[in-house]
């Protein structure tokens, strides 16, 4: 059974959709459950200024990504990288033990989005050097 807060987030999730001006995109697929977490982040001056998501997951997965994208906004890139599952859980209120793997899955999408951003930066700087 899901908490009232989680169900509210599922009913009306924040930050759904594509972020056209995204600086980095991370797509994480859970190999075991085949849930897919797609995170878009926009970074300016080493700070996440915007975030959005798409997700192929159930009620809890949608709520987790909604909370995650809210938390990412206005976080420095370094702090975003350091986000932990317990912080997500705290913000979410509660999540049954059997669904907590979703927190880790969601955080993996952050890792991949940041990696994507950093790769793009590297590419650009190489281009400039040439």
């Amino acid at each position: 059974m899901y908490s009232k807060k989680l169900l509210e987030l599922f009913r009306d999730p924040h930050n759904v959709g594509i972020l056209q001006s995204a600086s980095g995109v991370g797509v994480y697929e859970d190999e075991k459950t085949h849930e897919i977490f797609k995170l878009y982040i926009k970074i300016e001056n080493e700070t996440v200024v915007d975030a959005s998501f798409k997700v192929y997951s159930g009620v809890a997965g949608i709520a987790v990504m909604s909370v995650l994208t809210d938390m990412l906004k206005n976080k420095s890139l370094e702090d975003a990288k350091k986000l932990e599952d317990k912080q997500l859980l705290e913000e979410l209120g509660s999540l049954e033990a059997g669904k907590r793997y979703l927190l880790e899955d969601a955080l993996n999408s952050v890792k991949l989005a940041v990696e994507d951003y950093e790769k793009k930066l590297e590419k650009e700087s190489k281009k400039k050097k040439k």
């Binding site: 594509i18 075991k32 797609k38 997700v55 192929y56």
Partner: protein, 389 residues
């Protein structure tokens, strides 16, 4: 101020049904006037025994069995567990090989895992993409030491009806015990243990408008079974749940009496539901056999839509449907039918209750259109026009 009653459309009879009014009426006296233990020899006990015998006669008549061949259990899981474990253990001296299909109820598959721990060998036979169990594979799996075969009459998840007659005859030709789980078939199609050689058959109550907490096992009188519950009083000891048994008997009588009319009526509503969904929502496909299926079952895959999320959205509008399996424990049936993971997690089951009307279906589909649109917008599997560019 009177609160407005929320509309409920019940499309989950595979999990439970309401109790029919006539069934409830038969059950009522057993709570306070005919409350005896049917094993007691005094008058109150004898009255209860007579009610149990009536229930046995009703169930026996519905499947062409003898009343003494009907046993009551606490539910389908116990009946299936008992059949698999009890029949295999009692016949171990003849062999230790058991065959079941991969599209059986969990209570059968888990009982088989238990048998494997006890030294039995179990062969799990597959099915085609419609969920029809392979007769060829079954025939090829039979060995000298095969003692038991169990195949469902109809699959509870996707509704596919198996080729019961051919399977039963193939098995019996080799003098092997044949059990079938008829939990989802009873009340949806005629069952006859006289014309089809069946040794044991599981019968459910709570999806034929009977009470919960009871189920039945038909057991041919010549077949040996080991008791599953240890205690005083026959093959299935313990104090009988007389109210539930009485209700079960009445529910079977009603379900089989009006079977052709009620199943045809249900089928029309079910078909209308599928047709309406297909008309209004794109990329929807059927799971299970198109024609060889029980009347109330509609299991569909809605591409790119997480079925659990859809089920919760439907629930918020009073629409009760179900999803078979979870992300961590996906449906064994859909896996056996070679569905992809995306298809499995996008599959939802509707099992139509008798009181569902075409107007209810219109309401369901109208709500579903918006829900599917919303979930597809969230899904990364669905490429939007912006992304496609």
């Amino acid at each position: 101020m009177e609160e407005t009653k929320k509309r409920v459309v019940y499309l989950d009879t595979a999990n439970a049904t309401y109790v029919n009014r006539e069934v409830l009426q038969e059950m009522m006296p057993t709570f306070n006037s005919c409350y005896g233990n049917p094993d007691s020899i005094h008058s109150v006990g004898r009255t209860a025994r007579e009610l149990v015998e009536i229930a046995k006669r009703r169930i026996a008549m519905a499947i062409s069995a003898e009343p003494r061949e009907i046993y009551f259990t606490s539910g389908v899981a116990e009946a299936n567990n008992w059949a698999i474990l009890g029949l295999a253990r009692a016949n171990k001296s003849k062999g230790n090989h058991v065959i079941v299909s991969k599209v059986e109820d969990k209570s059968i598959l888990l009982a088989c895992k238990q048998l494997e721990k006890e030294g039995f060998e179990v062969s799990y036979i597959g099915c085609d993409e419609n969920g029809v169990v392979s007769l060829a594979q079954l025939m090829g799996s039979i060995k000298q030491n095969t003692i038991l075969v169990s195949v469902n009459v109809a699959n509870g998840e996707v509704g596919t009806i198996q080729n019961l007659n051919a399977i039963a005859r193939t098995v019996k030709e080799k003098d092997i015990i044949f059990h079938c789980d008829a939990s989802w078939a009873l009340g949806n199609m005629p069952l006859d243990v006289k014309s089809i050689p069946i040794d044991a058959m599981t019968l459910a109550s709570d999806n034929i408008y009977g009470p919960k907490g009871v189920a039945g096992l038909y057991l041919k009188k010549s077949v040996e079974i080991e008791s599953f519950i240890l205690g005083e009083g026959g093959k299935r000891p313990d104090h009988m749940n007389v109210p539930a048994v009485v209700g079960f008997g009445k529910a079977v009588e009603l379900a089989t009496k009006e079977i052709m009319v009620s199943s045809h009526k249900t089928k029309l509503v079910r078909d209308y539901l599928y047709k309406s969904i297909k008309e209004k929502i794109e990329n929807v496909s059927l799971n299970g056999h198109q024609y060889q299926r029980i009347a109330n079952n509609l299991n569909i895959t809605i591409d790119c839509v997480d079925a659990e999320a859809l089920m919760y959205m439907l629930d918020e509008e009073g629409i009760c449907a179900s999803v078979c399996g979870t992300r961590l424990e996906p449906s064994e049936t859909l896996i056996a039918m070679k569905r992809t993971p995306e298809q499995i997690y996008s599959s939802i089951r509707f099992t139509v209750a008798r009181n569902v009307t075409r107007e209810d279906v219109d309401y369901v589909v109208e709500k579903m259109v918006d829900m599917v649109k919303k979930l597809r917008e969230i899904s990364p599997l669905r490429k939007s026009s912006k992304e496609a560019k």
